[in-house]
């Protein structure tokens, strides 16, 4: 299988200045030397708490912001060296659906023109675009009578379907789904998740799903990537990562996530102390150091290397769990 997305030591650092006359600048390492790859037709779930850099990573892939180091190959295009033409190609190949259904669509455009818009700017003739709009609306199981509706007339689930339809308009290869169901109710969430999976299987799409909901990730993804304060701490097949987490952070996250069965509430779990922390003023060494109960002096000093533990499972920890 071909590699659809390949990140090699990718970095996105922001500089923030402290004040108008304070020239010393702080560097926020929002995404710091992250390497992993997504194969064609795979669903990869990206989990992490607030400040983990998961959304920044997605924004880099969508070329909404420029990366500051490393390499990112998307379907054979090197993002850091992409020409205008390359970017145009990427705009067609990567589509995105964001979290908030209410703001995903332009409130002043009808459903039809929202869906047609990406095709129109990529040179698809209007009549063709109109036909395709009907087709993608069909694919997300929405009635054609909604074509003339405005977003404020639709429910959250319907809006999310239309956002997905628009994403499909240019027949993309990769879809980035940023918390696609977080704002939805359980019954609607199930509809959207099923729809996404059906589409993925039918069209052989590649998904990068960003979420903080581990139950959703467990359901939908083939592989899981776990980020903590800008670092990729663990990456591997879903079952491997959820059943045998190797990084203490992943373990903590799995323990903290509520399980949807009251009979399992007595299970052994270790709760992590403290807050996710801040990206500002990070020292050297493992970023999880202060919250990790296995931490040693070694962890404080050096940045942990990436270890391969078999089954395509990689972990970035000095003392991986057994």
């Amino acid at each position: 299988m071909a590699k659809m997305v390949e990140l090699d030591q990718m970095e996105k650092h922001f500089r923030i200045s402290k004040g108008m006359f304070d020239t010393s600048r702080q560097v926020v390492r929002a995404v710091d030397r992250v390497s992993f790859s997504i194969e064609e037709g795979e669903v990869v779930g990206l989990v992490g708490e607030s400040g983990s850099g998961k959304t920044t990573l997605a924004r880099v892939l969508l070329s909404l912001t420029k990366m500051t180091g490393g390499k990112a190959m998307i379907d054979g295009v090197d993002l850091s060296k992409a020409t205008k033409k390359d970017l145009k190609k990427l705009h067609q190949e990567i589509a995105v659906v964001f979290q908030d259904p209410a703001s995903n669509l332009n409130p002043r455009q009808t459903v039809e023109s929202s869906i047609m818009r990406p095709m129109v700017i990529h040179g698809v003739p209007r009549s063709e675009a109109r036909r395709k709009a009907k087709e993608v609306l069909d694919m997300v199981k929405m009635d054609q009578r909604y074509l003339d509706s405005y977003p404020h007339q639709l429910s959250g689930g319907q809006l999310q379907r239309i956002a997905i339809a628009r994403a499909l308009a240019l027949s993309p290869k990769i879809m980035i789904l940023d918390e696609p169901t977080s704002a939805l109710d359980v019954s609607v969430q199930a509809q959207i998740l099923n729809l996404l999976l059906d589409l993925q299987e039918k069209m052989h799409l590649t998904y990068l799903v960003i979420t903080h909901d581990l139950n959703v990730i467990r359901y939908i993804s083939d592989k899981i990537a776990v980020m903590y304060l800008g670092k990729l701490v663990e990456f591997g097949p879903t079952e491997e990562v959820t059943e045998h987490p190797k990084h203490p952070y992943t373990k903590g996250l799995m323990d903290a996530a509520p399980i949807l069965d009251p009979r399992l509430r007595g299970r052994a779990k270790e709760l992590m102390k403290g807050d996710p922390g801040s990206l500002i003023n990070l020292g050297t060494g493992c970023r999880f150091y202060s919250r990790c109960k296995y931490a040693t002096a070694e962890c404080e000093k050096e940045d942990p290397k990436i270890l391969n533990v078999g089954f395509g499972h990689q972990v970035s920890c000095v003392h991986p769990l057994q």
Partner: protein
């Protein structure tokens, strides 16, 4: 049998809107005992938050019409004067909210805001601050003494919610209403807050009324639950029983819609259609338009609440035996 602490009897709340009434809550009854966590779950707009706010008489705007009884230790709070309600709030019933940043006043230190509540019981200022710091330690706030002098925006989301809990615990109420207490928080912080709430129930015998849309939270912590749909409690009872043997079609479908498996094990259950806005109270089951088992009776008559076991109640014509328990919904 233990005395009920809070019991709602046929509580209905209608909002006056132009051209009629919007039925936000209809005929809700529930009993809450000391030392138990009672979760009210439901999707957005089902009226769960309205119920919580009405208990504290915190519904904003004067356009709500309330019927039924809100009995707290046997007294109907609806008959209390505003002055008497002030004595109930914080002292007898505390309440924490969804977004802890909005819920704290940005211009006062968190220590000030907690000790302000303590001082209502005629406690000296310094003593109140001392107690506030002790409370911060109780809710496991790191560097409690120092944090008391912080302003809300200087704290993380988890710490702010700890402040809210400390504030509402400060006068040792018998009941704590938690309205979506962890929705704005990260998973690891959610687990920490949940631990605190569970501990509270254990050490202080405080009853907790938890309002949430998060079934994970319910599964992890609740003793009893009430499932709400379109303003009504459709099913209530012991949490284990409801999760294992849901009776109401809505609860059943919801349980199968929860992502509890992997995609290899098949797709999730979905519920077609959408929640109706109840503008005029016509007879009929409010779930009938989405229910795969609905019959003509369901559309024309309002189902009564059936007592299935001592604790388990269900508002459905078909309960308890007419719905094949293993049949998948259409």
């Amino acid at each position: 049998m233990k005395e009920t602490l809070l019991s709602l009897e046929h509580l209905s709340i209608d909002y006056k809107i132009k051209g009629g009434y919007l039925s936000a809550v209809h005929d809700v009854s529930m009993d809450l005992y000391p030392g138990e966590i009672f979760a009210v779950v439901g999707e957005s707009g089902c009226g769960k938050s309205t119920v919580a706010h009405s208990i504290m008489r915190l519904l904003s705007g004067g356009n709500a019409k309330i019927e039924g009884k809100i009995l707290f230790e046997g007294w109907d709070l609806r008959n209390y004067t505003e002055k008497e309600m002030e004595a109930v709030r914080g002292r007898e019933i505390g309440m924490i909210f969804q977004n802890p940043l909005d819920s704290l006043n940005p211009v006062y230190t968190v220590g000030n805001q907690v000790s302000e509540a303590i001082m209502l019981d005629r406690v000296e200022k310094q003593e109140a601050m001392k107690r506030a710091i002790a409370l911060f330690q109780d809710v496991k706030m790191p560097d409690a003494g120092e944090r008391a002098n912080s302003f809300p925006h200087e704290l993380s989301g988890g710490m702010r919610q700890r402040v809210m809990i400390a504030m509402m615990l400060s006068r040792d109420p018998r009941l704590l209403i938690a309205d979506e207490p962890t929705t704005a928080l990260d998973v690891t912080i959610e687990a920490q807050i949940l631990e605190i709430i569970k501990e509270l129930k254990q050490t202080h015998n405080t009853a907790i009324l938890m309002i949430t849309h998060n079934f994970g939270l319910v599964a992890e912590a609740a003793d009893k639950i009430a499932v709400m749909y379109a303003g009504e409690v459709v099913e209530s009872g012991d949490v284990f029983e409801i999760f294992e043997r849901p009776m109401h079609p809505y609860t059943k479908l919801l349980m199968q819609a929860l992502p509890r498996k992997t995609k290899k094990e098949g797709r999730l259950q979905t519920i077609d259609g959408s929640v109706p806005r109840i503008l005029d109270k016509k007879p009929g089951c409010r779930f009938a338009n989405r229910c795969p088992y609905a019959t003509e009776t369901c559309r024309t008559q309002t189902p009564a609440v059936a007592q299935i076991s001592e604790t388990h109640r269900c508002r459905c014509f078909l309960a308890p035996d007419e719905i094949p328990s293993d049949r998948k919904g259409a």
